[in-house]
C-alpha cells in the first residue's frame, strides 16, 4: 500500500476528528466565561446554573479535543518524518511554543476550574474561565501560524539541505496565518453560538426552563451574529490573499480554467477536470471573480490551464468545499439576523426554533469543509511551492500505516459515538437549577 496516501488519510481522519471538538471548546468557553461573569456581577443564580449546564457539555467536548490533539503533534514525526526533518527548524518551534506558552495554561486551569468551585473566590473562579478561553485562542494562534507557514512559507532560507529559520518575525507576522486565525477563530465562535442556540431551541420548543434558555439563546445570538459577520469579512480578505499567493487554489475554488480579465463567477458550475473545462456554467456574473480576487472588476485572474498539471489541486473537491463553506456562512448570517428580529418573541416562533435546532450540525460541516479547502486546495504541496506531499512521508512500511489507520478509525468512531451520546443525553436533561 502507498505510504503517502495512507498517511494522508490518517492525518485527515485524525485532524478532522480533532476538529469536531476544538471549535466548540473555543466558542463555548467565551460564552461560559461571560455567563459566569454575569453571575459574579449580578448574583443571579440562573447565570450560575447556565455556567454549570453549559460547562458540563463543554467538559465532555474538551476531553475529546485534548486527547485527540496529542496524536497530531506526534504524527508529523511518525508519518511525515521527511517533512519534519526538512522544515522542522521553522515549523517545529511554532508547535513547541504552542504547548509551552498556551496549552499548558489551558490544561492546568481546566482542572482548577472544574475542581476549584469551593477553593477559589467567585471572582477568581470566573477569571480562570476567561483565562481558559484566552489560552485556547492563544493556542490556535500558534497552530494557525504553523499552518499559515505551510500555506505560504516565509522567513526561511535553504541551508544545510533543509529549510532553516531566517526571520522569526516574518514567520509570526505571516499575513496568511493571521487571516486564517481570525477566520477560523470567528468560525469557531459561530459554531459555539449555534450549539448553544440549537440546544436552547430544543428546550424552548418543549416550553421548559424558559427563562434559562431564552437568556442562553440571546447571549449566543449576539455572539453568533457578530461572529458570523466577522467570518465573512475576514473570509473576503483571506480570499484576496489566497488569489495573490496561491493562484492554483484560488482557481480551483472557482473552477476557473482560462486566464481572463473581467473573470466571471458561475452560480452553478460542474468542473470537468479531465477536459479542463466546466461541464455546465449557469448564471454567470461577469467580473465578479475579478472583483473577489482583486477588488477590481477588470482584474486578470489566473486560470488553471496556466498552472502546470502536476501543480494543480484536485479541482472538484476544492470547488465543492468552497461552495459549501460560503453557502453555509451566508446562511449563518441570515439565521442570526432573523433571530435578532425575533429575539423578544422566540417562544412564538416555533418554526425558527426548529430550524435553529436542526442547524446545530451546519457550522461543523462548514468548518470541516473549510479545512478541506485549505488543505486539499494546497495540494500537491505540503509546503506551498517548497515541498511536495509525495516527498514528505516517513520511510516506513505501508502495512504499519494501514494498521494504525484502521485503529484510528475504530477508536475514534467509538469515542465519537460515546461523546455524541453523552452530550445529547446531558443536553436533553437540561439544567439543575441552583
Amino acid at each position: 500500500m502507498d505510504v503517502v496516501l495512507l498517511s494522508r488519510l490518517q492525518f485527515a481522519a485524525a485532524t478532522m476528528f480533532h476538529f469536531l471538538f476544538v471549535p466548540l471548546t473555543l466558542g463555548i468557553s467565551v460564552l461560559i466565561a461571560y455567563m459566569e461573569t454575569q453571575y459574579v456581577r449580578t448574583g443571579d443564580e440562573t447565570y450560575l446554573s447556565m455556567t454549570k449546564f453549559w460547562g458540563k457539555l463543554f467538559l465532555i467536548n474538551f476531553a475529546l479535543g485534548v486527547v485527540t490533539g496529542i496524536t497530531l503533534e506526534f504524527q508529523f514525526g511518525t508519518n511525515w518524518s521527511r517533512y519534519s526533518a526538512y522544515v522542522g527548524d521553522v515549523f517545529g518551534s511554532l508547535l513547541a511554543i504552542e504547548a509551552t506558552a498556551a496549552f499548558f495554561l489551558e490544561s492546568t486551569l481546566i482542572g482548577i476550574w472544574v475542581f476549584g468551585w469551593q477553593k477559589l473566590s467567585k471572582k477568581a473562579h470566573a477569571t480562570v474561565m476567561w483565562l481558559i478561553a484566552f489560552a485556547g485562542t492563544l493556542s490556535s494562534i500558534w497552530i494557525l501560524m504553523a499552518n499559515g507557514w505551510m500555506q505560504h512559507p516565509v522567513g526561511y532560507v535553504i541551508r544545510n539541505g533543509r529549510a532553516e529559520l531566517d526571520s522569526f518575525t516574518a514567520v509570526v507576522t505571516n499575513k496568511f496565518g493571521i487571516l486564517e486565525f481570525f477566520h477560523m477563530v470567528s468560525s469557531a465562535y459561530v459554531l459555539g453560538a449555534f450549539f448553544v442556540m440549537g440546544i436552547s431551541a430544543y428546550h424552548l420548543l418543549k416550553k421548559q426552563h424558559i427563562e434559562f434558555f431564552t437568556r442562553s439563546f440571546k447571549i449566543a445570538l449576539v455572539f453568533g451574529l457578530v461572529s458570523s459577520l466577522f467570518v465573512a469579512v475576514i473570509g473576503d480578505m483571506h480570499g484576496v490573499h489566497v488569489a495573490e499567493v496561491q493562484p492554483a487554489k484560488f482557481a480551483a475554488m472557482e473552477s476557473h480554467w482560462e486566464t481572463t480579465t473581467r473573470a466571471p463567477i458561475h452560480l452553478i458550475a460542474i468542473p470537468d477536470e479531465k477536459n479542463e473545462k466546466n461541464l455546465i456554467e449557469i448564471g454567470s456574473i461577469p467580473g465578479l471573480l475579478s472583483f473577489l480576487s482583486h477588488h477590481d472588476f477588470n482584474a486578470e485572474v489566473t486560470g488553471l490551464k496556466d498552472i502546470p498539471k502536476d501543480e494543480r489541486p484536485p479541482v472538484l473537491l476544492t470547488f465543492l468545499s468552497f461552495r459549501i463553506m460560503v453557502g453555509l456562512g451566508t446562511l449563518f448570517i441570515l439565521l442570526t439576523l432573523i433571530g435578532w428580529f425575533k429575539r423578544n418573541r422566540l417562544l412564538e416562533s416555533p418554526n425558527y426554533l426548529k430550524i435553529m435546532l436542526l442547524s446545530i450540525p451546519l457550522p461543523y460541516i462548514a468548518i470541516e469543509v473549510g479545512w478541506v479547502l485549505a488543505e486539499v486546495g494546497r495540494q500537491p504541496w505540503i509546503v506551498y511551492g517548497l515541498m511536495k506531499t509525495s516527498d514528505a512521508a516517513s520511510p516506513i512500511a505501508g502495512s504499519q500505516v494501514l494498521f494504525s489507520l484502521i485503529a484510528f478509525i475504530l477508536l475514534y468512531s467509538f469515542l465519537g459515538a460515546v461523546g455524541f451520546y453523552l452530550i445529547v443525553i446531558n443536553a436533553k436533561k437540561g439544567p439543575v437549577l441552583e
Binding site: 465532555i60 517545529g92 506558552a101 541551508r159 529559520l165 494504525s404 485503529a407 477508536l411
Partner: protein, 343 residues
C-alpha cells in the same frame, strides 16, 4: 556558541522528559493501581479524583517534550518518532483512552459502564508506563540505524534490557502513585496505599540495582561517568532519594516520601541522560549513523529563540502548576465525592 546552545538544549530536553515522568508518573501509577487498591466504587472514585484536577496539566509535559524535540532537534524528532512508529502510537492510543475515561466514567450510573472505563484507565496507564521504559532503554543501548534508516520493530525492542527498562519505569510510577494515594486518600484505602508503597519499594530497589548492573553490560552509559567521576553524584542522589522514600514512609511522612520519589525519578532520568550525552538516537551498527545533540539540532537562531521562550515560560508554568498542586494537596474525604463536578 552553537556547541553551547546544543549542549544546553540536550539537557533541557532531558529535563522536560524528567518533569513529564515526575508529574504524569503518579497519574500512571494511580491508574495502574486502580484495580488492585480500589475495592469498591467509592475507593475507585477517590483514586481517580485524587489525580482529577492535575493529570491534564501533567500530560502537557509530554507534548512539550515532543514539541521541543521537533523544534530543537528536528532530525531526532523525525527519525525517533518514525522509527518508534508502533510503540509511539500505542502510547498515544493508551493516553487517549485514559483521558476520556476520567471524563466519561461517572457520566452514567451503571456498573458495566464503569467497569469498561476502569479497564481503560488501567490499560491507558500501564501501557505508556512500560513502553516509555522500553523505548528509552533501547535508546540507551543503541538501535539498528544505518544510512538506510532504522531496521527494528516492536518485537526487536522487547529485548532483555528493553523489558527491564519497561519494568523499572512501571515500578517507579507504581511507587510514585502509591505514595500519592497515601497522601490523598482516607481510611482503609489510605492504609492499603501505604502498604502497597512499602511493598513496591522493595521491588523497585531490586529492579533498580539490576538495572544499574545491566546498564554496565548492555550500554555505554557509564563512559561519561568514568571520564568525569564527579558526575557520580547524580546516581548517588538517586540512591539516597530512593532510600529516603523508605525512610519517610516508615516515619509516615508521606509528602516527604512523595517528594523523595519525585527526586528519585528526576535524578534517575538525569543519570541516564548524562550517560547518553551527546547521543540522542544512537546507532549500534556504527556510531557515524548516530544522531547526536551536535549533528541533529536545529539552527542557531531557532535554538536561541526557543531558549528565550523556554526560559520565560517554563518557570511560569512551574509556578502555576505548583499553585494548582498546592490547591489540591489536601486529603480527600468521602464527602468530597458529593461535589457535583467530581469524577
Amino acid at each position: 556558541m552553537e556547541f553551547i546552545l546544543q549542549f544546553i538544549w540536550f539537557f533541557l530536553w532531558g529535563l522536560l522528559w524528567a518533569l513529564f515522568f515526575m508529574t504524569d508518573g503518579y497519574d500512571f501509577g494511580v491508574g495502574a493501581l486502580l484495580p488492585f487498591l480500589g475495592k469498591d466504587d467509592t475507593d475507585k472514585r477517590l483514586m481517580i479524583n485524587s489525580i482529577g484536577p492535575l493529570w491534564d496539566g501533567n500530560e502537557v509535559w509530554l507534548l512539550t517534550a515532543g514539541g521541543v524535540t521537533f523544534a530543537a532537534f528536528p532530525q531526532v524528532y523525525a527519525v525517533m518518532f518514525s522509527s518508534f512508529y508502533t510503540p509511539l502510537l500505542l502510547i498515544l492510543f493508551a493516553l487517549i483512552i485514559r483521558g476520556v475515561s476520567f471524563e466519561f466514567r461517572g457520566k452514567i450510573e451503571s456498573a458495566a459502564w464503569k467497569k469498561l472505563w476502569d479497564t481503560c484507565i488501567f490499560i491507558g496507564s500501564v501501557v505508556p508506563a512500560i513502553l516509555f521504559g522500553v523505548a528509552f532503554a533501547n535508546i540507551f543501548q543503541g538501535l539498528p540505524l544505518d544510512q538506510n534508516g532504522y531496521h527494528g520493530n516492536l518485537i526487536y525492542l522487547l529485548n532483555p534490557y528493553g523489558i527491564l527498562g519497561g519494568v523499572l519505569f512501571l515500578l517507579w510510577f507504581l511507587e510514585h502513585g502509591a505514595l500519592w494515594l497515601s497522601i490523598k486518600t482516607p481510611g482503609q484505602l489510605h492504609d492499603r496505599s501505604v502498604s502497597a508503597a512499602n511493598s513496591i519499594w522493595f521491588g523497585l530497589l531490586g529492579i533498580s540495582v539490576l538495572f544499574l548492573i545491566a546498564t554496565y553490560f548492555y550500554t555505554p552509559l557509564y563512559a561519561n561517568y568514568l571520564a568525569h567521576p564527579i558526575l557520580f553524584i547524580v546516581p548517588l542522589i538517586t540512591v539516597l532519594s530512593l532510600l529516603g522514600v523508605k525512610f519517610f514512609l516508615l516515619k509516615e511522612a508521606y509528602f516527604k516520601a512523595w517528594f523523595a520519589s519525585a527526586l528519585t525519578i528526576v535524578s534517575a532520568t538525569f543519570f541516564c541522560i548524562i550517560g547518553l550525552y551527546p547521543n540522542m538516537f544512537p546507532s549500534n551498527i556504527d556510531s557515524i549513523y548516530s544522531l547526536t545533540a551536535h549533528n541533529a539540532s536545529g539552527s542557531q537562531l531557532t535554538l536561541t529563540i526557543m531558549l528565550i521562550v523556554v526560559l520565560i515560560f517554563i518557570p511560569i508554568v512551574i509556578g502555576y502548576q505548583a499553585w494548582a498542586f498546592y490547591m489540591f494537596k489536601d486529603k480527600l474525604s468521602v464527602d468530597d465525592l458529593d461535589y457535583e463536578e467530581a469524577y
